[in-house]
């Protein structure tokens, strides 16, 4: 018998506490979710039937699902692009340290730390059509009041604004770090070549911070496709399904209607979108992302 070395035992002892929950709650569930998506399981009854691609055909011909897919795309586009652009803008302002920069950074970052449920409650008051502050501000600029969360035209916009407010600080911090790492000498070299501020930004800054942009894109993609808390509190997917995203649909199918097969088919679509978009951005990043 081979004697197991001490080093080996330590290795096993150290990795198991992480691996057991990793397998139990990530890897095995992923495989199971894939399997369940081909069944008609309803959670309550014991007999489960294999239904092939039925759930997939069913959701793709379902108008609710298509609507949720579009809502998710709108939400993703609306939040990811603005969060990254505004995060970069704020990071730029903090590029040189000045008096009080810490306090500003802290205030901009604070929404990210706070529980979505608690601040959603406050924002649902801000969005109140009759007496809320959002319409008060619009009034100051002489604009017509909006229905915000109460109208299917503006509900998604309201959720997007809230989400940007909440997530900008996080993006900003990563960009501040990235900008600090851009070597001064590169800017100086560009200046000698006669570059102005704008061309310095396009030709020096953007390429050199592209790994961070790539990372933030992926992180924001994963979190935006998993948005749930604020939607559940502020609109419950309404009005008229206008804020029902894929994950919200998944929740409703799985934990309210117990359509486990159909719900897990939705989960697989969510997964496919993330894999597809990250492969796509890896492909794009090969061309555009510069690693030193």
């Amino acid at each position: 018998m081979v004697k197991v070395s001490k080093k080996h035992t330590i290795r096993l002892l150290f990795v198991l506490p992480f691996l057991i929950p990793l397998f139990l709650f990530w890897i095995i569930p992923l495989c199971l979710a894939f399997a369940i998506s081909f069944t008609d399981w309803d959670y309550l009854s014991a007999d489960i039937h294999f239904v092939g691609l039925y759930n997939y055909v069913d959701i793709f011909t379902d108008s609710d699902f298509m609507k949720a897919l579009i809502n998710t795309l709108v939400f993703g586009l609306g939040t990811i692009v603005s969060t990254i652009a505004l995060g970069l803008l704020f990071a730029f302002i903090f590029q040189k340290n000045f008096k009080g920069h810490r306090i500003y950074q802290m205030i901009i970052f604070s929404p990210w730390v706070t529980p979505a449920v608690a601040v959603s409650l406050v924002w649902s008051w801000i969005y109140e059509p009759e007496r809320g502050f959002a319409n008060f501000i619009l009034g100051l600029f002489g604009l017509q009041p909006l229905e915000w969360l109460h109208s299917s035209d503006t509900a998604m916009l309201s959720i997007i604004i809230f989400t940007i407010w909440k997530s900008i600080g996080w993006t900003m911090l990563f960009y501040i770090g990235a900008l600090e790492r851009v070597p001064r000498s590169t800017y100086e070299a560009a200046e000698i070549d006669g570059a102005n501020d704008i061309s310095k930004f396009i030709h020096v800054t953007v390429p050199l911070i592209s790994p961070t942009t790539y990372f933030l894109f992926i992180i924001n993609l994963i979190s935006s496709i998993q948005v749930y808390d604020q939607i559940q509190i502020m609109t419950q997917g309404g009005p008229g399904g206008s804020t029902t995203t894929l994950l919200y649909l998944y929740y409703k199918k799985a934990f309210q209607n117990f359509q486990m097969g159909s719900a897990n088919a939705v989960a697989m679509v969510i997964l496919a979108i993330i894999i597809l978009l990250s492969l796509l951005s890896t492909y794009v990043s090969k061309k555009w992302v510069h690693y030193e």
Partner: protein, 276 residues
């Protein structure tokens, strides 16, 4: 000229800061307002009375302590367990690596992009089979494998010189001693950063706990807050108390964040060196 630019910068940042802080400020002032005041003069920022006694009285009425304790339990014990488990795993991946551990790390790398929500149904079933549904320890156990923590700690460990570990080993230190006397002190800021982020995440979590915890004595604060908000039937019944409950919920995370912001913010700014 330079001075003017700085002034413009400050004016711009002050207006931004107002936008970002406004909901919080308004929420805290709302605690002191009466319900009538909130409904009749919604645009008035300051309350007309600073009636502390009234706030203390409603504090006694809203019964929120249990939820806070549950969240603290999950937040504190969850964070400590996640840190220890991730530390041991990362230690092996970085300092005791072989072919197998490399494979394990690739496996973890693959899970990084996996949205956790996709696994909720099977995870729920597995928890039910283990008789861990409706239990705070079940909640902690299901969150124990933090892929993020492993990533962050690994980045930090990799920056450390391997010589320190070798030197300690030559001096006869075992792995536990190396971890305690070398790894931990040399990566303190990474541990703090991961610790605060993990605590905040556990404390703020809502979707997963609201799926797996149905017993309202075990609710976490976010669930409790929602419960409290809808229990009067119609939305917006008692805004003053809703604001009080929200403020209470926010307070711990904001406090931790303010106390820890020095190393926490710089931690993200400096340690986020993203390598391909």
């Amino acid at each position: 000229m330079k001075k003017m630019r700085l002034t413009i910068k400050h004016i711009f940042l002050i207006s931004i800061a107002i936008i970002f802080a406004f909901p919080f400020v308004w929420m805290v002032f709302g605690v002191f307002k009466t319900n009538n005041e909130i409904w009749q003069e919604p645009y008035k920022l300051l309350p007309s009375h600073w009636d502390i006694a009234k706030v203390v009285e409603s504090l006694g009425q809203i019964n929120f302590n249990g939820y806070m304790l549950n969240s603290f339990y999950v937040g504190i014990f969850g964070t400590l367990s996640i840190l220890i488990v991730a530390l041991l795993f990362t230690y092996v991946v970085v300092f005791l690596k072989n072919k197998n551990t490399n494979f394990l790390f690739v496996l973890v790398l693959a899970t990084y992009m996996l949205p956790s929500a996709v696994t909720y149904v099977p995870s729920y079933v597995i928890l039910a089979k283990m008789d861990l549904l409706n239990k705070l320890n079940g909640m902690i156990f299901s969150c124990l494998a933090s892929v993020f923590a492993v990533f962050y700690l690994r980045q930090s460990f990799l920056k450390m010189s391997y010589d320190f570990v070798e030197a300690a080993r030559i001096d006869g230190a075992n792995d536990f001693k190396i971890i305690y006397h070398v790894i931990f002190p040399m990566n303190k800021s990474a541990f703090y950063t991961v610790g605060v982020l993990t605590f905040v995440q556990l404390y703020n979590s809502y979707m997963w706990p609201s799926i797996m915890i149905n017993d309202d004595k075990k609710f976490l604060v976010s669930q409790g807050l929602r419960q409290f908000f809808i229990q009067d039937g119609a939305y917006g019944m008692n805004w003053s108390e809703v604001m009080l409950a929200s403020t209470l919920t926010l307070l711990p995370v904001i406090l931790i964040f303010i106390i820890g912001q020095k190393w926490f913010v710089t931690g993200i700014v400096q340690d986020s060196g993203i390598k391909g």
